[in-house]
């Protein structure tokens, strides 16, 4: 038995060193998604080719087409990945605090820090998604709306919250993402954490008014 075991080692069975195909595919998929983030940051979605993606990920064209139907499918998958990560981080930070303004400040700070650390991801999530056609634009809007419950909490917190316009949360989110996008377009991703008091004010003001919002911003960003 023992000798047979030794003999086995001398004649390794075929494919023993290979990873199971589904693990290989998963790693190739992951490399392609990372490549999509990098390539989009370098040359933009419009100019990106399948060749750029396969080269950056070190996979063959055949592999690419086994995993994705086309360039758009790969971009959208990379996008979903990025958004999932961002939303998770924001919610986690948000939940560390109690009062709504404190929660909003923690969530927004996490958002700004993550985007500043990964400017390529930031561009992909907030800027390039608009260039990838109607499907990507709808995807972007759905992703953003996942943050709506965090803003809706402001209604419960604010004394007159129930009487606010129906679209208050959507507009507050639009204000925050608009301010962030302006910084990204201006090439100031690294300075995003400095935007906290501005985005916090934009978040709070529709719910609690300018005076209370200014006081809370002062307290929370001191």
């Amino acid at each position: 038995m023992e000798r047979a075991g030794v003999g086995d080692r001398w004649r390794p069975p075929r494919g023993r060193h290979r990873l199971p195909p589904e693990i290989v595919a998963r790693s190739q998929r992951k490399r392609l998604l990372e490549a999509a983030v990098r390539v989009v940051a370098e040359k933009g979605y419009g100019a990106m080719t399948i060749g750029d993606l396969t080269k950056a990920a070190g996979v063959s064209r055949t592999t690419f087409y086994e995993l994705f139907e086309d360039k758009e499918a790969c971009f959208l998958a990379a996008y979903d990945n990025a958004v999932e990560m961002l939303v998770r981080r924001v919610i986690k930070a948000y939940e560390t605090q109690q009062a709504w303004p404190d929660r909003a400040a923690a969530g927004l700070a996490a958002l700004l820090e993550t985007l500043a650390e990964e400017p390529a991801l930031a561009r992909l999530s907030l800027i390039d998604v608009g260039r990838a056609g109607p499907a990507a634009q709808r995807r972007y809007r759905n992703a953003i709306q996942r943050l709506t419950p965090l803003f809706d909490d402001g209604r419960d917190f604010a004394p007159g919250g129930r009487g606010l316009p129906a679209n208050t949360s959507r507009m507050a989110i639009g204000g925050v993402t608009g301010l962030i996008a302006d910084e990204l377009v201006a090439g100031r991703a690294d300075q995003l954490p400095g935007l906290l008091s501005d985005v916090l004010f934009a978040t709070l003001v529709p719910y609690i008014g300018p005076d209370a919002a200014a006081r809370e911003v002062e307290r929370l960003t001191r």
């Binding site: 979605y45 316009p165 208050t168 639009g174 301010l179 004010f201 529709p206 005076d211 911003v217």
Partner: protein, 229 residues
Amino acid sequence: MNLSGLIEKEHLPAGREDLAEPLVAHSQRERILVAMAKSCSTKGYNATTIADICEPAGVSRATFYELFKDKEECFHAAMEVSLADAMGRILSVYSPDKPWATMVRDAAAEFLDLLASRPAFARMALVEAPSSGDRAFELYASGKRVLQSLLDRGRDDPVEEEAIPSSAGRAALSGAESLIVGQILAGNADRLRELLPDIVYITTVPYLGQEEALRQAREAERTLSSPGG
């Protein structure tokens, strides 16, 4: 504030090239611009080909290239027309004697009506241009700066409030824009006017406070139901 001076400073045309309403394209050039806007709104600017523009416009490729150097120049021209219309509409309700909140409401109402009457141009100007990253983006951005300065004027009316960040007007405008774009992407451009009270609220609340902003929003709601308002 001199709004027309501001529009000029941004090198924006104002109402110079107003297309007929309803949009009837008389010239080949107009038909091409309409086809460009429509193709942008159905398949996006990137995917739009010259053929997508020429066929519905009923012009040959040769005609297209006589009028425009390339797709980008055509897109830019379509954006210029849209902006000229938008600036013309806003100038038509602008008066230095009007209270700021009334002017914001009237300008927003004009803007929403214009977008609702030209859904393809609306989509091109607010969805495609912001992400096109070329000269069309600059046009979009300069139009937005004019609207923003209109909102920033609320800062000294009625009180100068130092604690309010200078970005408050820009954030409010982005909030309103995101609501409008959502409505357009959902295929509800014809119902844009319904957003007026919400837009009045978000744009006035940083300077007027909640109570007064809600009052302005309710007033805007009344103009929706009043005939011809």
